[in-house]
Amino acid sequence: MSKTVNQKGWFFVMPVVLLVAFNAIIPLMTVVNFSVQETFGDNVFTWVGVRWFEEVLHSERFHAALLRQIAFTAIILVIQIPLGLAIALCMPRRGPWVSVCLVLMALPLLIPWNVVGAMWNILALPDIGLLGHSLNALGIEYNYTRQPISAWATVVLMDVWHWTSLVVLLCYAGLVSIPDAYYQAAKVDGARGWAVFRYIQLPKLKHVLTIAILLRFMDSFMIYTEAVVLTGGGPGTATTFLSIDLVKVALGQFDLGPAAAMSIIYFLIVLVLSWLFYTLMMRNEEK
């Protein structure tokens, strides 16, 4: 058996390889470089092997941040996915209200992230903010700069406000693309509301929901800007999520080695969990 080897193929692949190398592999490698060495500046490096990784993995501070991060992402997914789906189901399918709804839904997505943080920061101020002041006037003790529970509620509320629209738009697109014949068949077959949702809409939305969950998982797991502007990770470390902690280590303490190791661990967690989500949700596809 002789097999033709066509070396010319490399020429066609090279541009892509270069592009990926410059925007992904090379930057990532510098992080790898930092993560296995100790440096005190002056471009002097000493080899430390996996010490930083061990340190990070055993540090309670990292565990706490990771736990907060997982809790936050779990809350976000549990709220945003069902809420987004519910709103999409309620939106009109035709008529003049469609564009009104779509524009309203898209608005939060068009606002820069730091502006979102600033908006909610002001809105939730306990003394002069509309939300904060109203809550306190109602007798609910609310101060997101002092109470961890208030801080968490505010961050979650802000993220729900900012990102549920994305889930809504994805689900709406999925719902609109279901052919009328399915609904007609359901009527003829005598299926009612719940059965229509369970056996037609939900199965048809499966791919869209998978994408929505993946996007919301990745984005909320990497939340930084809005939370930093709103709470700065406080009160104390109550809302110091992984990325906020990472920036504190890298730029606050200038511990480049541990920060690099943490980045790689962080990256691997997102990668593995995303893969896991995707595989679990798609596992029935082949059967």
């Binding site: 052919p179 009527k187 003829v188 005598g190 299926a191 009612r192 059965a195 059967k287």
Partner: protein
């Protein structure tokens, strides 16, 4: 089981219909007797599917009434009307097995599980689905999926009418034939009213006892396949049914005698025709035209071989007249004359058969 009556039914998709063209279904009164096998035949966009959806209750008519056995169901839902409908493209419930798909319409109506099982297995056997009952429906081929759709339409034994909206479009030709025969057999067996929408004349003529031909939102003719072929009431029916379609030639009628470009032609109905400025045409199917020693002098044009016969195009003045020449007969040369079978040659006035 029910007799279905449509009483001056009209439907428009526009909120405020003004002219004729705004109506998808023009004023229509029609009766479908209980247990009949009907085909609704017409070109795409003629309103067949609209009419079907009006009968099934997926659409509410703009005007008019629909009666099932004298019970007014105009505003009833498909469920209340108790009908079954099969759509053009396969509709299956992806997450269910084939078995559960077929059982779905029964279970939604609270049929006892023993009965469900009996019905599902019976229908599955009929459609050759019994080997894959436990498979997930989404894994089947397009053919298989459409069989499931058909099965869901046929599985209930108590429906008033089963409607098929071009159900065999996605099925490959051989299986099409098999499934159509099965439907026909099932109809003979159960005597349930069936309405079969199609734009394929072969499908309509082989399936139905009565064919309803529609064009531009109106019913043009209702009749048996033989009626449609031998006595088309409208030139549209003549054109649409038959291959090739009916010859339609502009003509005049003088004193009960039809004339095509000055030549007199014997017809079945010219005596009943009054001219008074209407558009008059002469219609004769290629099957009823033959070469003769005397008659209309024509020139031979193209000759197409269609297997058992040849289609000969002849020209008289600037008119094209087609005729069928049985296999084995030679195409004559030189000066040729045509004879029209008078019993099957008719005059049409503004498209409609005179004296019908």
């Amino acid at each position: 089981m029910a007799r279905i009556a449509l009483d001056s039914l009209r439907h428009s998709y526009l909120p405020n219909p003004q002219q004729d063209a705004d109506w998808a279904v023009q004023k229509l009164s029609l009766e479908w007797s209980d247990g009949g096998a009907y085909a609704l035949l017409g070109p795409s966009g003629c309103g067949k599917t609209t009419l079907l959806n009006l009968i099934s209750g997926l659409l509410k008519p703009t005007e008019g009434r629909i009666l099932f056995d004298d019970r007014d169901v105009t505003l009833a839902t498909p469920e209340q009307r108790n009908i079954a409908q099969v759509f053009q493209f396969p509709v299956i419930y992806d997450t269910m097995t084939v078995y559960n798909n077929l059982a779905f319409p029964l279970r939604n109506r609270g049929v006892a599980e023993v009965e469900v099982d009996r019905r599902v297995r019976e229908i599955a056997a009929m459609l050759d689905l019994d080997q894959m009952l436990e498979k997930r429906a989404s894994g089947l081929t397009a053919d298989g999926k459409q069989k499931i759709s058909l099965g869901r339409g046929l599985v209930r034994s108590d429906v008033n009418v089963i409607m098929f909206d071009e159900p065999l479009t996605v099925i490959d030709p051989h299986l099409k034939w098999v499934l159509r025969s099965k439907l026909k057999e099932l109809h003979r067996h159960t005597r349930r009213t069936m309405i079969y929408v199609t734009h394929d004349q072969t499908e309509a003529l082989t399936f139905a006892d009565q064919v309803v031909v529609m064009n531009q939102g109106t019913v043009v003719q209702i009749g048996t396949p033989v009626d449609l072929f031998e006595r088309p009431r409208h030139t549209f029916v003549g054109h649409f049914i038959g291959s090739p379609g009916m010859n339609v030639l502009p003509c005049e009628v003088r004193g009960g005698q039809a004339m095509v470009a000055g030549a007199p032609i014997e017809t079945a109905n010219a005596k009943a025709c009054r001219g008074d400025g209407a558009r008059l045409e002469l219609g004769v199917r290629p099957e009823f035209v033959s070469f003769a020693l005397e008659g209309l002098p024509v020139r031979i044009g193209k000759v197409l071989d269609a297997g058992r016969f040849r289609i000969v195009e002849t020209r008289y003045a600037d008119q094209v007249i087609k005729l069928l020449l049985p296999e084995g007969l030679p195409v004559p040369e030189g000066e040729v004359r045509l004879r029209f079978d008078a019993a099957h040659t008719r005059v049409y006035r503004d498209g409609w058969m005179v004296g019908a």
